[in-house]
Amino acid sequence: MMTREPAVLFMLIIFPLAMTFVFGLAFGGIGGGGTTSFDIGLLNQDVTSPQAEWSQSFVGNLTSSEVFVIHDFDDNITGQAALLQGNLDAFIVIPEGFGVSIESYYGSPFDPSAWSNSTIGLYVDSGSMMAVSAVPSLVQQALLRSIFGEAAVAVGLPVEIGSPALVESSTLTQWDFMAPGIFAFAAIFMTMIVAQSMTVERDEGLLRRLRTTPASSADYMLGHTVSYMIIAVIQVTLVLAAAYLIGYRPSTGIAGIGFTFLISLAFSLVSVGFGLISATLSKSADTSTGISFAFIMPQLFFGTFMPLGGGLEFFANLMPSKHITDAITTLFLRGAPITATVIWVELAIISVVGFLLIAVGIFLFRRQGTR
């Protein structure tokens, strides 16, 4: 039946697929999941001093990194402008006296008062979450390599800071952070379709007709719910396949994929429940779309891949979509094992909320009657 209703087919299947391709290609690229590169602007003001070899070494270490694509600038103003326009992920200014500083260090390595200090200017695109988190650390690494050499970077210490995330994050794209949200994104729109179909069935007299048969209201609701759960399975399958096609490789195995289907089934209950409530509140099929968006929009903005912070986290945690996104993120991005307690807690939350919403929806829908 879905294939005979282009609008429904679009919302439930084509739209999630399109979102996967659009976001995947825009933020990950075909074959994404490989190394991210950052466009770095560079202004070297220490090119003419006798100690210029140090700055050249630093530039060499930055350039040799596969992560940075270096663009040379002749003045600070042009570089800053490029950064502001979003043409650069970061802009580095090597000050005059950079080489002198290093030389002074080697002259008196244990006497800081004898050092000639200088400061590297590092300006990062605050609009890029990836750049903000990754560029400063990578620049620091290049600097240490320039001052102390390769051996110094790898020197053994009795205490070390476990920071595998630094290495990992440099191989992730923004798409890797967004992909888990797509699964919730796809299922959220079921609310609208459920609301529309329920109001149409009510307004067209179909519910009245069905009520003259031995099938009970519970049979009817169960039939609808199961059909939408099947659609949820189809959605997850297609989104996973599409994401895989454009290079997405989640950090989980078959069990994790199985869990994704399970939690998506639970989340479909949430969407059906909200759909039933929307249908109850709607006087006609036309208004049901608008009313269903009162449930859809908060879940989209607070619960999927939209960046949040601060006090908004509180509202986000009230959204069922946030919990499915968090669970899938934990599996797909953090590579947590299937036994991780946190994902089962998220599944329990979604399941309980789903069953409650369905129960409330059925109660309200039955109380309203068939008009």
């Binding site: 039946m1 005979r4 007299g205 007709r209 003259t212 048969t213 031995p214 099938a215 068939t370």
Partner: protein, 248 residues
């Protein structure tokens, strides 16, 4: 089997301050083709809706095959097939899918359902159109599909609410023939209509109601003889002082 197929006792149905059915009492026997006649708004559909468990009486009672419509609606629904006045169907399903869906709702076994479907479609002369999407049917075809949806469960009692409204004469004749065959098979048929010639042609007995009240009950020929009228239209005119279609 109960004594009467349908028993209505002092049935009253009010909607706020409007009395749609007023103290109606009727008894309909098994195998009877019974007509409920009256203009639009007379209370025909309300009576059918009470009998099909969609509405609860405000006062009085009604039983269908001894199942009370209020206290045992499930029992009622197992023995009835309802063809509503406004044909309710899934436009994005084919005619066949709509009919089969109703059979499934009545838990008809698949092999029985397939056989019954073929027979009904053939009788209704719908074979060439049955696989088309319902939204592409004409009004007359939709009404015929709606009737098949009501009868696919092979109900003991068929409640047909204005089944031939807006049909062309040829289609209407075909439906009449179909209804006659139902009676020949021993089905009890309740037919509401405001077409007097339809009732005259088909029904064993008719109840004429106006403004919710029963004003006459009997076989069409008996009523015409009793009121010295040429047809039921004239009977209605003599009883109410108005033409039946005035209320249409």
């Amino acid at each position: 089997m109960s004594e009467s197929a349908i028993k209505i006792s002092n049935l009253t149905k009010r909607f706020d301050d409007i009395t749609a059915v007023d103290d109606l009492s009727l008894e309909i026997g098994w195998g009877e083709l019974f007509g409920i006649l009256g203009p639009n708004g007379a209370g025909k559909s309300t009576t059918v809706n009470v009998l099909s468990t969609l509405l609860e009486p405000s006062e009085g009672s009604a039983t269908v095959d001894d199942h009370d419509v209020v206290f045992d609606p499930e029992g009622v629904r197992e023995v009835i097939g309802v063809c509503p006045q406004e044909p309710a169907y899934y436009p994005h399903l084919t005619g066949k899918e709509n009919i089969i869906l109703m059979g499934d709702m009545h838990l008809v076994p698949k092999d029985v359902l397939d056989e019954r479907f073929r027979t009904l479609v053939e009788k209704m002369d719908m074979e060439d159109h049955i696989d088309r999407l319902a939204k592409k049917y004409s009004g007359g075809m939709i009404r015929r599909i709606s009737m098949l949806m009501a009868l696919i469960s092979d109900p003991k009692i068929a409640l047909l609410d204005e089944p031939t409204v807006a049909m062309d004469p040829k289609s209407r004749r075909a439906v009449w023939e179909f209804i006659r065959e139902l009676k020949e098979k021993g089905k009890t048929v309740i037919l509401t209509t405001h077409y007097m010639e339809e009732a005259q042609e088909l029904c064993d007995r008719v109840a004429i109601i106006d403004e919710g009240s029963l004003i006459e009950l009997g076989a069409p020929k008996e009523l015409m003889k009793k009121h010295q009228a040429k047809n039921l239209e004239e009977v209605f005119l003599k009883l109410t002082g108005k033409k039946l279609r005035e209320g249409v």
